[in-house]
């Protein structure tokens, strides 16, 4: 180590408290914009990539941001539903593959995403254990859900009741875990998947119970040749088993069963354009391109972000000025030391060099500390995108 470097190092080491404070101040001033920038970049990429992977979303008229975020991130929303027959009608057009989505319920706080096996195929989800949820009352768990609840294929999971004290509402459904998906690093990890028919059981639109002609007479309010009115106290099956599966049935017209949204995977760009314009021109429902919706949302965010960029610049500038002031004052306090150097024949630039090297040392340490802190933050901060 050359003499000047050694002297700078010894001075910094001799004034540990001052040096540590300087390093911490500079590191903090660097860590905030670095971390925020890196996080923003990550989220921006993650948000846009999931949106870009999803060509079209069709849903009820209303807020397109709500529709997109509900369909991509399973965010709870107050979206109007669309009837299942709309999916069938679209399917007849043959322009795309249509995937139903129903997301109004939760199980142990995790969103229940009722869909079809095409969703798993589309997102590349292959069960790591068990199989897809293909039967009424079955679920397949995202990796995070399975890990957090400690569930495996063959276990059971209860849905969250919607109306705890209303006996006419369907009770919580005990669902069998058919399979577990491997980690995908997407919101799918935090979801409970089931067939869309299971959601209709949760809605109370489909249910199973003993045959009407075998119901306890105490529960029958009136009986005629072709109709019977049964008390609301009639216990519906709260679990679908091999024995009672055959008794599950729908109320009313199955074509009108509700969906939250429909994912459309057009066969080509042209089909996508024609499909979107046809749906929007008709007006009963809306078709949105998630990439455009998320792009709009992030566009607004990043316009405002320019202001925060400026704040970051000011923060760094202020810190730089304060650090300069510290070194300036420090150089005055070191007047005797500089005179000694001059008397023993050291060149005049050595004094400035000592202060410069010490400042560089502080910056280097602060940069390393800020870099490490940024990496640690990115590593340990919960993945906000997957739980968006």
């Amino acid at each position: 180590m050359s003499g000047i470097l050694y002297l700078a190092w010894r001075h910094a080491a001799a004034h540990r408290a001052r040096t540590s404070l300087l390093v911490a101040c500079v590191a903090l001033a660097l860590w905030v914009p670095w971390t925020a920038g890196a996080l923003a970049g990550q989220y921006d990429q993650a948000l846009r990539s999931r949106a870009a992977e999803t060509p079209l979303i069709i849903g009820a008229p209303g807020n397109r941001y709500d529709l997109t975020l509900a369909a991509l991130y399973f965010r709870p929303s107050q979206l109007e539903t669309i009837p299942y027959q709309e999916l069938e009608r679209l399917q007849e057009g043959g322009r795309a593959t249509f995937i139903p989505l129903h997301m109004r319920f939760t199980a142990r706080g995790y969103p229940i995403v009722a869909t079809s096996v095409e969703y798993a195929e589309f997102r590349g989800l292959q069960p790591a254990e068990g199989r897809h949820a293909l039967r009424l009352g079955e679920v397949a768990l995202g990796a995070d859900v399975a890990a957090a609840l400690g569930l495996r294929a063959g276990d059971a999971l209860l849905s969250d009741p919607t109306e705890l004290y209303d006996i006419s509402r369907p009770p919580a459904l005990k669902m069998r875990v058919a399979g577990v998906y491997p980690p995908a690093g997407t919101p799918d990890d935090g979801a409970v998947f089931c067939d869309v028919r299971t959601a209709w059981v949760l809605e109370g639109i489909a249910h199973g119970h003993a045959p009407a002609e075998e119901i306890d007479e105490a529960l029958v309010l009136s009986r005629a040749d072709e109709s019977v009115a049964v008390s609301g106290a009639l216990m519906e099956y709260a679990e679908v088993t091999e024995e009672n599966e055959g008794s599950f049935h729908y109320h009313g017209d199955t074509a009108l069963l509700p969906l939250s949204a429909v994912l459309a995977l057009p066969a080509s760009r042209k089909d996508g354009t024609l499909l979107k314009s046809a749906v929007n021109a008709e007006g009963s429902f809306q078709a949105v391109t998630p990439a455009a919706v998320i792009g709009d949302l992030l566009g607004v965010v990043f316009r405002i972000k320019a202001f925060f960029d400026l704040v970051g610049v000011f923060l760094l500038g202020t810190t730089a000025l304060l650090v300069s002031l510290v070194f300036l004052l420090s150089s005055r306090l070191r007047g005797a030391e500089m005179r000694t150097l001059d008397r023993i024949g050291a060149p005049r630039r050595v004094g400035a060099g000592l202060i410069g090297i010490e400042a560089a040392l502080v910056l280097l340490l602060a940069g390393a500390l800020a870099g490490g802190a940024t990496a640690a933050t990115l590593r340990w901060l919960p993945d906000l995108v997957s739980t968006f």
């Binding site: 920038g37 006419s168 067939d195 109709s227």
Partner: protein, 313 residues
Amino acid sequence: MGTAHLVLISALLLAGCSDHGATTSSPTGFPSGGGELRPVVAVASGPAELLAAAAVGPERVERVAPEGAPLDRWRPDDDALDAMVSARRVLVLGDEAEPWLQRAGLPPSRTVRLDAAIPEASWIEVGSFAHTHGGGESHTHGGVVAEAWTDPALLRAMAQRTRGQLGAVLGEGEASAPAWTLGARIDAYADELDALAEALDGRALIATHHGMEYLCRAAGIRLEVTELELDGGGSHPNDDAVRRLAELAGQEGAHAGVLVWPGPLDSAFAEKARQELGLRSVDFDLGASLAGSDTLTRLTQSTARLRAAIAPE
């Protein structure tokens, strides 16, 4: 707009100082979700097998239900479900004929429903059973006769839909010859129905099941149905239905003197009906389940057998 606001605020809090270039989305190269699908049509019923074989050739049709399994009671096991999910297409009759469809998660984009080919007005409704649960809405069970394929015109409509839906996916070229043959066979079945109607000469058929409604309507045959609720296993018949059957049998000259069993024939009751009511029992295979011969063959043979069994006036 609540969620959007939340997102905006969240993103603002998270947004840092470096702007990463926006990526542009490309809607090309959409995953089809069917990369590993087997080039077969999965079927669980006789009519679906008949129509699929005519549309894409029998070598591309895969049975997922065992031979003779009754459609209204069959439940696919895990292997059958896996086979259907991995098939390029699943051809099904609809919820009425195949109730298991209401409880199985088939992929909608790969499931072709034959009931979609039937105009709403063509369905035949029978006595339904409505019930309510407390303050809930009234809902109905039953009500529609499922065996629409027994009507030649409706079978043609189903065949046309099958060709349209399967041909484009599994190759229409190979379908043309069997499809043409199917048309001729449906014509032959229709002729057999006409011959049956002619032999009946206005007399009614008495049947134990509504399954014959469509073929009788197509041929202009009067049908009287009395649902005995017998499963062929020695169970006790529905008393009301027995009384109704006795009334019908008593109207001499108005019926053909046969009791047609579209469902399982109960030998004990058949013998009783012959001795006490003078009705000869004839079984009639509607071709619903999978069997050794196809649905149309069974329908045509059953019609011919019934015509031969009709007592002379």
